[in-house]
């Protein structure tokens, strides 16, 4: 547990998080006994089901009482509980620097790191823009958590968003499957993003996408003729704000809908996060 004061994990946040528990609803594979159901069935006290005895099974596993009632050989199987790994991908491109989006995302990421580490699960952090800028392998110690929180504090927005590229480059770094939490503004091609997520999903990762947008991005700020400067590319666009507001909102909504539709199709959790709401609300998708 972190002892010092961190920008994105304040004592009051820790107090509030005491009522939450990171519990992604899927089976994990782990090597330490933990609280998550493991894919491996075996030594455990949690009964799962019966199955017919097959040659090679341990005869000690036979349920003699069932044999006595049915005159058939059945073997009892048990759920194995294990620890899980949570891989956190935080978009740190320049666009995330718009209206405190990166701070909002960092608070959320810090809370997840805390919740995961508190249960003894492994947590990994990837800071990326067009590529992976910083990578912290899975860990669950207090020191590891401190490192993550310090990294979040030092993190600054910059560079262009290229989530798909970052995901492709991160794939070799993830040794075991687990939960994958991507926090980004997703200013990238949705199809490319989900193409990059394909290998993760294939390996059995449970993917959660948190789409961070500020209210200004959703509404389009400005009045009259305005010059908009792209934070990532420095490209300038002069438009009449009122006249393009509705079409802009429609285009952005189409982009969001596209992400949501692809996520649903691929079994990925997708959440739109407005920075004017508290990040605790996002835990509905992750904790119990």
């Amino acid at each position: 547990m972190s002892q010092g004061r961190h920008k994105f994990l304040r004592p009051e946040d820790i107090r509030k998080l005491s009522g939450f528990e990171f519990a992604p609803r899927h089976i994990v594979e782990g090597y330490l006994a933990g609280r998550h159901l493991s894919r491996a069935r075996g030594l455990s006290t949690e009964f799962r089901d019966y199955r017919q005895y097959a040659p090679g099974d341990d005869p000690a596993a036979l349920d003699w009482k069932v044999f006595a009632r049915t005159d058939r050989h059945y073997v009892r199987s048990y759920e194995q509980e294990t620890n899980t790994a949570c891989y956190l991908f935080l978009d740190s491109s320049a666009s995330m620097g718009y209206r405190g989006k990166l701070d909002y995302a960092s608070f959320f990421a810090a809370a997840i790191c805390y919740l995961v580490a508190r249960r003894g699960d492994l947590v990994s952090l990837h800071l990326f823009d067009a590529t992976v800028r910083k990578h912290f392998p899975p860990g669950s110690t207090h020191a590891h958590l401190d490192n993550l929180l310090n990294a979040l504090e030092r993190n600054r927005p910059g560079g262009q968003t290229n989530l798909s590229e970052a995901l492709r480059r991160s794939l070799p770094l993830l040794k075991r499957r687990g939960s994958m939490v991507v926090v980004s503004d997703f200013f990238d091609d949705p199809a490319a993003i989900f193409d990059a997520l394909g290998p993760y999903l294939h390996r059995g990762f449970k993917v959660h996408l948190f789409h961070i947008l500020s209210p200004e991005e959703l509404e389009l700020p400005g009045e009259g003729l305005a010059e908009y400067v792209d934070l990532e590319s420095s490209r300038r666009v002069v438009v009449h704000a009122e006249s393009v507001r509705k079409p802009y909102q429609a285009a952005l909504q189409a982009h969001i809908d596209g992400l949501r539709r692809l996520a649903a199709r691929r079994g990925v959790d997708y959440s739109l996060a407005r920075t004017d709401t508290h990040y605790f609300q996002l835990f509905d998708h992750l904790v119990k």
Binding site: P221, G222, Y228, V238, V239, Y248
Partner: protein, 665 residues
């Protein structure tokens, strides 16, 4: 020539301000507020899709706003649109002569008022455009053009008063003369000179006018009336024969003209004292009908016949009068000598209803017979024929055929003398039995005009008189009696009555034939020289000392001016109809005033013709003022500015007004 001048031209220096919207547009485009934004991908995507549609809107807005500024500046500069190079703001004294058409056609009713009333209103409006000290005059165009002042004067109120009192006449006018007199009024004026002709510009009256004005005179034409005015007019009434004998049947021939592009039917009424008759006449479009009334002259008493049609929009030409003067005997004047002249006199002397005298050609004779004509007095004879008289000519041997052909309005092939030739064996005659001269001889009771033998004649060639009708000819085709058409009637006699040339004069048919020739050979129409048109003066000779009065058709006694010789003359007659000469209540005669038929055709000169003449305006309130002073265009500019403003609002509302400019990464 059109031009624009400004009340406050100094404000035109502000015209560059019209470029303000463009400048603002350019400046505003360069300095929009700069906003950092996370990603402009969607903005570009939206804007690029719309920029193609929105740019025209922006251009339209730019144009509208530029026009708005322009209109605002011009509005305060107060531009005035003027025609013909007239600049009302120019100083100096103005001289204006109004040539106001007061002829009969101006009496046509249009829109509840006559063209003349509209013209007077325009004239009054025109006068009101003059400043104090300007001079003006009005010249009435009618049979006797008359100006209000001897020269343009400053008392405009009196001119207005005269306009209020003015009435249209039923007279015809000489437009060329009127124009000349109007220009003469301006000749000695100093300052600006304007001649304004206000008329319906009737084609028959103005079509031949030569519009030649001095350079320093501004000529303006102000047209009143519509070109489509249609009219039905009685344009003529003639008798056949012109002066019937008492008891003789005659034909009254009316002429109804249709001045419209549609055929029209109309009842024509003839009022001949106790007798009233009517005929339905069908006149084709732009044509005429000639209803004929068969009447009988009961006695010698003179009568004024009145012809009329139902009233239409132009009533003056719906009535016409003609004096019927039956005679108790025909008067024949025989000029020349020789056996033929003697036998003519003898034959006509036997007829009680005919008085034949040997005299020089007489203007009052019903028939002038010239025997053995050698070509002398040809102009007098031609004049008689021109006036509608009947002339019988026996050419003398050796007369140049060209002289005879000229009198008959024919063109002879070559000059050649008419030779006398002897006929052996004697030759007989062939008559045109269908001719009215021979109707009497159908029964045979009065002999056969074809009977008789001729041994001498003139070698007359019918080819020299192609238009003439060969009433009697010799059996070899040589003409013996030719009837030549023309205003009057010319008979060419080639029947020698000398005893050595034949026995025709001894035949029983001779005297009846001479009677028929005098009676039926007369011209069908009488001369119209005695008829007057409005504006003319009536004159007649009476015995000196008689207290003769002349009354107009309305019963008004007209002043007469006399001479020592007993000839009395009236002033210009202004009323249509029968003017009665009388002494102590006893009628001595009539003077008939008929509508001038040239005024019945109400078609107007096309506007294109008038525009070529000079500056032309259509009648309407202030038309002249507009022409003379120009048109204030500020109301139009204001309207246009407001329209532009409204359009700008509409464009702003209807379009989404984006302008997109990507200025590179």
């Amino acid at each position: 020539m059109m031009g624009v001048w400004f009340h406050t031209p100094a404000l035109l220096t502000l015209l560059p301000l019209a470029a303000l919207p463009l400048l603002l547009h350019l400046l505003a485009r360069k300095r929009p507020p700069r906003l950092e934004f996370s990603d402009t991908k969607f903005l570009l995507q939206v804007a690029k899709a719309r920029v193609r549609l929105k740019r025209p809107h922006d251009l339209l807005l730019l144009l509208l706003r530029t026009f708005l500024y322009l209109a605002a500046i011009l509005l305060f500069a107060r531009p005035v649109w003027s025609w013909g190079g007239f600049h009302g703001a120019a100083g100096g004294r103005s001289n204006l002569v109004l040539l106001l058409d007061a002829t009969a056609s101006m009496g046509y009713m249009e829109g509840g008022q006559t063209r003349f009333a509209a013209a007077c209103a325009e004239a009054a409006e025109t006068l009101s455009s003059l400043k104090s000290g300007d001079r003006a005059n009005i010249l009435w165009l009618r049979a006797n053009p008359e100006a209000v002042y001897p020269e343009p004067g400053v008392n405009l109120n009196y001119l207005r008063e005269r306009l209020r009192q003015a009435k249209v006449t039923v007279e015809a006018g000489d437009a060329q003369d009127g124009l000349k007199r109007a220009l003469a009024q301006l000749e000695n004026c100093e300052g600006r000179k304007t001649l304004c002709v206000i008329s319906d510009f009737q084609r028959s009256q103005w079509g031949e006018v030569v519009w030649k004005t001095p350079r320093d005179v501004e000529l303006m034409t102000l047209k009143v009336g519509e070109s489509e005015a249609s009219n039905l007019a009685l344009s003529d009434l003639a008798f056949d024969p012109a002066s019937p004998l008492a008891g003789e049947e005659f034909t009254a021939l009316a002429r109804l003209d249709d001045f419209s592009d549609a055929a029209r039917s109309c009842q024509v009424y003839l009022n001949a004292g106790e007798l009233r008759a009517q005929k339905l006449a069908n006149a084709p479009a732009w044509g005429s009908a000639s209803p004929a009334f068969r009447l009988k002259a009961k006695n010698k008493q003179q009568a004024a016949l009145e012809l009329s049609i139902p009233e239409d929009a132009f009533p003056p030409d719906n009535r016409r009068w003609k004096e019927l003067a039956p005679v108790d005997s025909l008067r024949v004047s025989v000029w020349g000598d020789g056996p033929t002249a003697k036998l003519w006199l003898r034959a006509w002397g036997t007829l009680g209803w005919l008085r034949a005298v040997q005299s020089a050609p007489d203007q009052d004779a019903d028939l002038v017979a010239v025997a053995n004509w050698d070509g002398s007095g040809a102009p007098a004879l031609a004049k008689l024929l021109e006036s509608g008289k009947t002339v019988l000519i026996q050419p003398a041997p050796g007369l140049d055929v060209q002289t005879l052909a000229t009198l008959a309005h024919e063109r002879a092939a070559a000059a050649k003398p008419l030779d006398k030739e002897r006929l052996s064996p004697p030759m007989r005659l062939t008559i045109d039995r269908g001719h009215r001269l021979f109707e009497l001889f159908k029964t045979g009771q009065f002999g056969d005009p074809a009977a008789g033998n001729f041994t001498g004649r003139l070698r007359l060639d019918s080819a020299d008189f192609p238009a003439a009708r060969q009433v009697i000819s010799y059996s070899d085709g040589v003409p013996a009696l030719l009837e030549c058409p023309g205003p009057g009637r010319l008979w060419i006699w080639n029947l020698s009555l000398a005893p050595e040339d034949g026995d025709w004069a001894k035949r029983p048919c001779f005297v009846p034939f001479m009677g028929e020739l005098a009676l039926r050979g007369r011209a069908q129409k009488a001369s119209t020289a005695a008829e007057l048109t409005p504006g003319a003066r009536a004159s007649r000779s009476f015995e000196p000392g008689l207290k003769v009065k002349l009354r107009s058709p309305s019963g008004r006694e007209l002043p007469l001016a006399g001479t020592d010789t007993g000839k009395l003359s009236s002033g210009p007659l202004s009323e249509l109809g029968v003017h009665e000469w009388s002494v102590d209540g006893k009628t001595l005669g009539w003077t008939l005033v008929n509508f001038p038929s040239v005024e019945s055709d109400l078609r107007q000169l096309p506007n294109a013709v008038l525009k070529n003449i000079g500056v032309m305006a259509k009648a309407g309130t202030g038309a002249f003022r507009e022409l003379r002073e120009g048109v204030e265009t500020w109301p139009w500019l204001l309207s246009l500015a407001l329209l532009a403003l409204a359009l700008e609002g509409v464009v702003m509302l209807a379009s989404e007004r984006p302008t997109v400019k990507e200025e590179g990464a």
